[in-house]
Symmetry: C2
Subunit: 374 residues, 2 copies
Amino acid sequence: MVICNYSHFKSISITPSTNRCRYDTSTPRVPTFRCNSTLNSTQLRAEPEPVFTSVKSFAPATIANLGPGFDFLGCAVDGLGDFVNLRVDPDVCPGEISISDIHGTGTSVKKLSKNPLWNCAGIAAISVMRRLGIRSVGLSLSLEKGLPLGSGLGSSAASAAAAAVAVNEIFGGKLPVSELVLAGLDSEQKVSGYHADNVAPAIMGGFVLIRSYEPLDIIRLTFPTEKELYFVLVSPEFEAPTKKMRAVLPKEIQMSDHVWNCSKAGALVASVLQGDLRGLGSALSSDKIVEPKRAPLIPGMEAVKRAAMEAGAFGCTISGAGPTAVAVANDEERGREIGHRMVDAFMNDGNLKASAVVSKLDRVGARVISSSSR
Amino acid sequence: MVICNYSHFKSISITPSTNRCRYDTSTPRVPTFRCNSTLNSTQLRAEPEPVFTSVKSFAPATIANLGPGFDFLGCAVDGLGDFVNLRVDPDVCPGEISISDIHGTGTSVKKLSKNPLWNCAGIAAISVMRRLGIRSVGLSLSLEKGLPLGSGLGSSAASAAAAAVAVNEIFGGKLPVSELVLAGLDSEQKVSGYHADNVAPAIMGGFVLIRSYEPLDIIRLTFPTEKELYFVLVSPEFEAPTKKMRAVLPKEIQMSDHVWNCSKAGALVASVLQGDLRGLGSALSSDKIVEPKRAPLIPGMEAVKRAAMEAGAFGCTISGAGPTAVAVANDEERGREIGHRMVDAFMNDGNLKASAVVSKLDRVGARVISSSSR
């Protein structure tokens, strides 16, 4: 038995489906799991029927730990992300989900488990099924990774968000966004810790502030639509040592640094809402607590930041826990030039190959790409 | 000689005016002081002439350390404040200022020095004269204290702000607001520490975020004009032990508390800009770092906060360093009821008499009330 938290208040038990279900044809099958939650009130709701036979969804990459916004500020970026193909599958036991396929360009995709209990998309899908009270329909999920693993671009959150939206949509979209975020958070908790600053923007789009975790309370921060905002994302070929990245975080913080970061976080929020790109960049660059500890663990990062600023970026910091560096600009062409300089700096100072992408803010979040009723 | 910083970058020396000036009538005079800054470039500007013979100004009370906004978030409240009467005085040596009179309702007013170098209004006035390069005109200042000292309502900042605006105005208002804030900060630094979250809103009005101290960089946070916002200010008859109030501040902060306060500060900024009074109140109440240390030093404060919330306040915290408690409401009548309950709680739990005032946000800041050319 594996315990899987479906929210931060309650836990439910999820048991491996060892008994064959009635659809079982006795051929070997990929592992499927069922939420063993018959006593929960959610289950007593009328069970929704599938509205579609299949749904394809997408969820964008995200930048968490935005400068001084460690663990509570994140945003979504367009053009990069993960896809989920979900279908009603009579070969899967009712109330269960199976992961039929995982593919993507990076070699790291092979690391991903097809066991839904150990896969970000699977955990989020199970959580949504549970919240909807699905007992009579089995689902099959195919995951298409557009994001590399462990890059600091919210790869796990994108998979979870795409899966959550797909499962909700196939049953008529009955759950509100807040429930989808909770489902995504179930997944994040399992794979990378109980933080919502990737999965909330991956689902909601735009900038998101986590006001509270208990209960989960999220504010959408709308960057003015008439303003241009480009993210320059530069990912080196380097595996950020996750354990070290966590271990290096200070447990205690000087009061003066606290006030500094706190005021910069406030300034970042104000800059987003006021569409002040210069202020946003300045605040993004100003973290005195997390970035100074983590940057030295990513070869070349400090030089990359300097290069970005010298090339005209408004600000630059580590995306998530890295190793991707993110800079901001108000012009696509300038963004590309900044990207070149950052790539060069990774090579010259860190001896790392890197690639750059210039993306806009994704204001939509996880979305349905297509759906089919037959 | 007394050193008086005129900005946080440079210091100037201010010397007691021991030599009689040409206007001296040899009668005993209140002490006057001159900025000894002949070498500074500011002085090389064309000296402005007085546009008025007298000016009366007002500056509002302010709430600093707004909840999780310790040292960087403050706002101005209307209806309470200090007045300054300023006039060109041929009996005062050119380039000097004299404090002719200080009066007000509270007994604590007697504690205030008429020596301009040791008086908030005097220091700010000297700083503005210096910034304008005033060498040929002497000024006389009368201070009318509407705010009690040491109440946590920005009494010293209001005096400084009113004086700064009056001196600037009498010479034609040539200095920008940013310079007036720096002048006010010179005063605050001398009397209560280098923090701008009282004096910036006292001069600028509304909500103000201090983005940086070096260099000073301030963001105005506009609370939507169509929204109602009432502050319930309840001041007990109690002298908050300033030294203890400072000594009790933690030097180091747990990472989890830092993230908590930081996210609440971000939420407070967002709530102000979005006009979300419920969010504003919630964030205001959420400080885990400063308020829990200071509240126990103000008899009854914890009960007062509870009483405010039970009476329907959206939030409640300590104003500045106390002892005033501030709660927020969206209705004046409700605000008065909340005030009664808070006064009762101060008496019942802290054995302290207290008085309540319900004020709106002051959106204007320090202003000229009247001026005369002859």
